[in-house]
Symmetry: C2
Subunit: 209 residues, 2 copies
């Protein structure tokens, strides 16, 4: 939700805004989304409830801004492009591993993942505001490589992105094995092999087996 | 948990057991894991609480048996091996899509996924009893193909399995896009291309980009 304050809002407003975003993130990790209240966020942030309602329509809206704020507040997510596709994807996926191992980020994310299992509307808002822009950024980086001829012209980039992000998410969400930078690298290498240009100019056919 | 009844337990016991497993599965989809009680399962199944406690130590144990029972009660999960690796994997992944679209299976699974976000012990039990045997079965099918020379000798089969299952889980769990058989097929094709034997006998190197 767009904040209703003018761009020249005072430093005091900015301090309140940051305190509210930090409080929301901390609290949802502690009590879960279901028990999170605007009252508790206000108390933790040291502001009045009305200050929060002036800027955000709901606790979900506060929380999504907290997540966006974590990623440097950048509304546009962009992957690095050094010209080395594998290195670029690995650096971002390793950073994601580090983030998901950090309780400050992991606990609120788990709270939202848990809640959205049984609340499709919350899930849809989480996707629209936080997740899809990230998936789009991954796809954009792959598209650049595809246009440069390094990825097969008929490769399905959306599926490739879901394979990268989904493999990490599965292990993290279900805690099947520890996350590691080695796992991040292995995912990127396998996915890139699957969509790389083969000598004939299209992906290699999988063998029967 | 092993049931304490003898193999020749009466037909009436078997009817009670089935009623309990069905009731547990229905209820967890309705009220979530946190609010699921042995009392409610007993009431829905039309048995006494003690009948449940005689066979299972906890509500989680009942629920895991409900899941295992769904998969034909087979303690060993095995993937088909018709000699056509891609077709075998696609048939299993398509069946998984159908299962995850079926509320009877999807709702209890969502309840357990949600609960295990913040209950690592429950998650560990879910992994040990339900998930890891499935991942092992996928890996075993890939290993057969690897031994037959259809998959690169140095391919990481565990990562390949997590890519297959994780891509589906990510889309299902976060509801980013609808599941479909086409998605299942695309996942299998991309993963197999990533681990297929290249002309030189090892996976193709990903291009820079």
């Amino acid at each position: 939700m767009a904040r209703k304050t003018a761009p020249d809002s005072s430093r005091r407003s900015e301090r309140s805004r940051r305190a509210i975003l930090d409080a929301a993130l901390e609290l949802v990790g502690e009590v879960g989304f279901g028990k999170l209240t605007i009252e508790a966020i206000a108390a933790r942030a040291g502001v009045g409830k009305q200050t929060i309602y002036r800027w955000w329509p709901s606790k979900a809206a506060v929380l999504f801004d907290s997540f966006l704020d974590q990623s440097d507040g950048a509304p546009e997510v962009t992957l690095p492009d050094t010209g080395d596709l594998a290195a670029d994807l690995k650096s971002v996926l390793r950073a994601t591993v580090d983030e998901m191992e950090n309780p400050k980020y992991a606990l609120p994310t788990r709270a939202l993942v848990a809640e959205s299992q049984n609340d499709p509307e919350l899930g849809a808002e989480l996707n629209a505001r936080v997740l899809e822009p990230q998936l789009d950024a991954w796809a954009a980086r792959l598209r650049t490589a595809q246009q440069a001829g390094h990825i097969a012209a008929d490769a399905d980039l959306r599926v490739a992105v879901e394979m990268i992000v989904g493999s990490l998410f599965h292990r993290w969400s279900l805690r099947t094995l520890p996350l590691s930078h080695g796992y991040a690298d292995a995912i990127v290498d396998q996915v890139l092999r699957g969509i790389a240009v083969s000598p004939s100019g299209s992906p290699a056919e999988p063998s029967a087996g």
